[in-house]
């Protein structure tokens, strides 16, 4: 029997009032972006915004709650851009999107910062054990891909240092049910042969820092065969796969050809389009995948958007959450 769990990869849009309040408080230029030492006014605005997105998840009735990552001005690069030994460099394009982030330039040893742990603790207090908490981090490979190394000097060493850094962040997390490691770079700029083997090792380093279920979530399309095959070596509980992207047949092929863990996170709702899929459509998309991978006996299927949700206006993001929750609720248990 398969348990269906409605969740998201996080990185929510700021509530509209917080968009304008924070623009007024912080400014709109590169130098005004989050630094890790915000003023009290900024901190309290983010606290109110965090409470609002926790409420959104209560309203939608999701099964797992995220913190929302509203402070992550630089999206997945955030854990580095707030670090003392990282310089926030030039503005760079965020994957193939009309979005931009500060390229983090690592100039010293990456010691634990605790930044993400503080956010999660605050979220955990808001949720107050009424729903399970899901932690979200960039995966080590994507973080390496988004950053510039000016200290470690070697690609594998940099990847390994980022894995140790992320593991140390996880050490500071409050209790959490799941950890989503977002790895879109595995799709967008897959590792070359010299690093490919190091990717599952780096993921294992982060995954071993928690007792929670770890999901390596990939999106912006299907993983290449080689990358997928290497990822099977990672000791994680689930893969997250993009079923919205046009090349989703390749995702089915990978799963049939190389296998898949007993749990899978399916990106069934489009995080980059305002069109709202019905709960039935989301369930059909999930079945489309699970039925074509008959040898797998999934114990858990997470129903999620494929991408982060900050691409959407607030009304549509809320509707996506509701649709995911409704999709998981159609019947709580199904046979895969």
């Amino acid at each position: 029997m398969t348990e269906l769990v409605a969740t998201t990869p996080g990185l929510f849009p700021l509530p509209d009032w917080a968009k304008s309040d924070l623009a007024d408080l912080k400014g709109r230029q590169k130098a005004d972006l989050i630094s890790g030492d915000e003023s009290n006014a900024v901190v309290s605005t983010y606290e109110r915004a965090r409470a609002a997105v926790v409420d959104d998840q209560f309203d939608a009735d999701l099964d797992l709650f995220v913190e929302g990552q509203l402070r992550w001005d630089d999206m997945l690069a955030h854990p580095l851009t707030v670090h003392d030994r990282v310089e926030a460099g030039r503005i760079a394009r965020y994957y193939d999107n009309n979005n931009f982030y500060r390229d983090p330039r690592v100039v010293g040893e990456l010691t634990p910062s605790g930044d993400v742990g503080v956010e999660l603790t605050a979220a955990s207090e808001l949720i107050d054990e009424t729903a399970p908490l899901q932690a979200v981090l960039p995966g080590p490979y994507s973080l390496a891909d988004l950053a510039t190394d000016a200290y470690y000097g070697d690609e594998r060493e940099f990847l390994s240092a980022l894995a140790e850094f992320l593991a140390a962040e996880v050490d500071a997390f409050p209790d959490h049910e799941t950890l989503f490691l977002l790895e879109p770079s595995l799709v967008e700029s897959p590792p070359g042969d010299d690093v490919a083997e190091a990717v599952p090792e780096a993921i294992d380093v982060v995954a071993s820092a928690t007792d929670a279920d770890v999901v390596v979530h990939t999106y912006f399309g299907a993983l290449g065969e080689k990358t997928y095959a290497h990822l099977m070596d990672a000791d994680v509980d689930a893969f997250g796969l993009d079923l919205v992207a046009d090349d989703r047949e390749a995702t089915v092929y990978n799963a049939v050809e190389y296998g898949v863990p007993d749990a899978v996170a399916l990106g069934v709702a489009d995080g980059q389009n305002t069109r709202i899929e019905s709960a039935e459509t989301l369930r059909e998309r999930a079945s489309w995948f699970t039925e074509q991978v008959p040898m797998a006996d999934f114990d858990t299927v997470y129903l999620s958007t494929n991408t982060e949700l900050f691409y959407l206006p607030v009304n549509r993001y809320r509707e996506k959450l509701a649709a995911l929750a409704a999709a998981a609720d159609i019947e709580r248990e199904v046979s895969a």
Partner: protein
């Protein structure tokens, strides 16, 4: 296939006293006067008593002012600085049935954009730019250029809820752009510029833009100059494909990176006219006339002087207004000095195939 680039001659001012003629122009946007921004805010506030009529008057005043500012800078063709437009996609989406707005989305940091959604087939209703053009033309003593956001960018920078893919949406939008251009031409417009910044981020899709352009220029007379503006990208992925586009002029942003990419356009031969960015819109330092002259000479490596247009790299709206003005004035002065030097045979033209 290029259209009819020689239609540039109609923009040579009657009092132009040099034999050579470098067409000087702008890409479009210009800093709004502070009072216009305040007027807009007042008009958005229903309790202010500042109504839409008052805003329209303020926009007319601003359009007149900036058109004249362009003329005073010495440009051969002018724009009203897009005083009536807030944002290059939103402006058009508000006027096209089929679009709806749901709220702002993040671009970067705390910069947002009301990214619209296409929820049904797009249609042509009221003209988008006719009033803007007619007003500008009525106050201008120089020919007016009309910048229009291109269909590919209108499609890519929207949420597509209604079409099978973005190409299908772009083609439908291209039909609407064609209809708009016909109205503008009927009203006397002779110079239109299609802005496709989205192409810079996905240059692999240039064939879609080519298809759109075929639809855009359908039935448009050859004496109407059609320019395509693509800013800030890897032009090697677009060239030489753009030689097949049905345009008269291709406008590029190259000043920003010091003409690193200029050689991209030297082989094979560049077919449309080249509109070259010769002042940087991302730096508030005003380039000297000498510096701009040397930038103009970069363009002469690609096309002969009779096929060179000079403009800023992109819209100048993010610059302080006095800086924007000084850049345009220096641009026009530099062009006139280069023309005089060309007339006097003082400039050696490298030519596209020489090094």
């Amino acid at each position: 296939m290029v259209r009819n680039p020689s239609n540039r001659e109609q923009f040579r001012p009657a009092d132009h006293d040099a034999e050579h003629f470098l067409l000087t122009t702008v890409v479009g946007s210009y800093p709004k006067p502070t009072w216009l921004t305040r007027a807009k805010k007042l008009a958005d506030d229903s309790e202010s008593g500042f109504d839409e009529r008052a805003l329209a008057e303020a926009q007319d005043d601003a359009a007149r002012l900036i058109t004249h500012e362009h003329e005073r800078a010495g440009l051969d063709t002018v724009v009203d600085g897009e005083m009536r437009r807030d944002e290059m996609v939103e402006y058009f989406a508000h006027r096209i049935p089929g679009y709806e707005f749901n709220g702002p989305v993040k671009v970067w940091g705390h910069n947002y954009f009301d990214k619209p959604s296409v929820v049904s087939e797009v249609e042509y209703d009221e003209p988008w730019l006719l009033e803007e053009f007619e007003f500008t033309a009525s106050v201008a003593t120089r020919p007016v250029k009309v910048p229009i956001t291109g269909p590919y960018t209108l499609a890519r920078w929207s949420f597509n809820e209604a079409y099978d893919d973005e190409a299908a949406l772009a083609y439908d939008l291209a039909e609407l752009v064609n209809e708009e251009i016909h109205r503008l031409v009927e009203a006397g417009a002779r110079y239109v510029q299609i802005d496709e910044p989205a192409l810079a981020t996905t240059p692999g899709e240039h064939a879609i833009v080519g298809e759109c352009l075929e639809r855009i220029v359908d039935g448009v007379p050859e004496d109407v100059r059609v320019c395509l503006h693509v800013c800030y990208g890897d032009y090697s992925k677009l060239y030489p494909a753009i030689n097949d586009f049905p345009i008269d002029e291709f406008d590029v942003e190259l000043c920003n990176d010091g003409y690193e990419q200029i050689d991209v356009f030297r082989s094979p031969a560049f077919e449309p006219d080249l509109a070259l960015g010769v002042v940087d819109v991302h730096t508030a330092e005003v380039e000297s006339v000498a510096e701009i002259k040397s930038n103009i000479e970069q363009g002469l490596k690609v096309v002969s002087p009779d096929r060179l247009t000079v403009s800023p790299d992109c819209g100048v709206k993010l610059l302080p207004r006095e800086i924007a003005y000084q850049k345009l004035e220096n641009l026009a002065t530099a062009a006139r000095e280069i023309e005089a030097e060309l007339d006097a045979d003082e400039i050696e033209i490298a030519g596209p195939s020489d090094d």
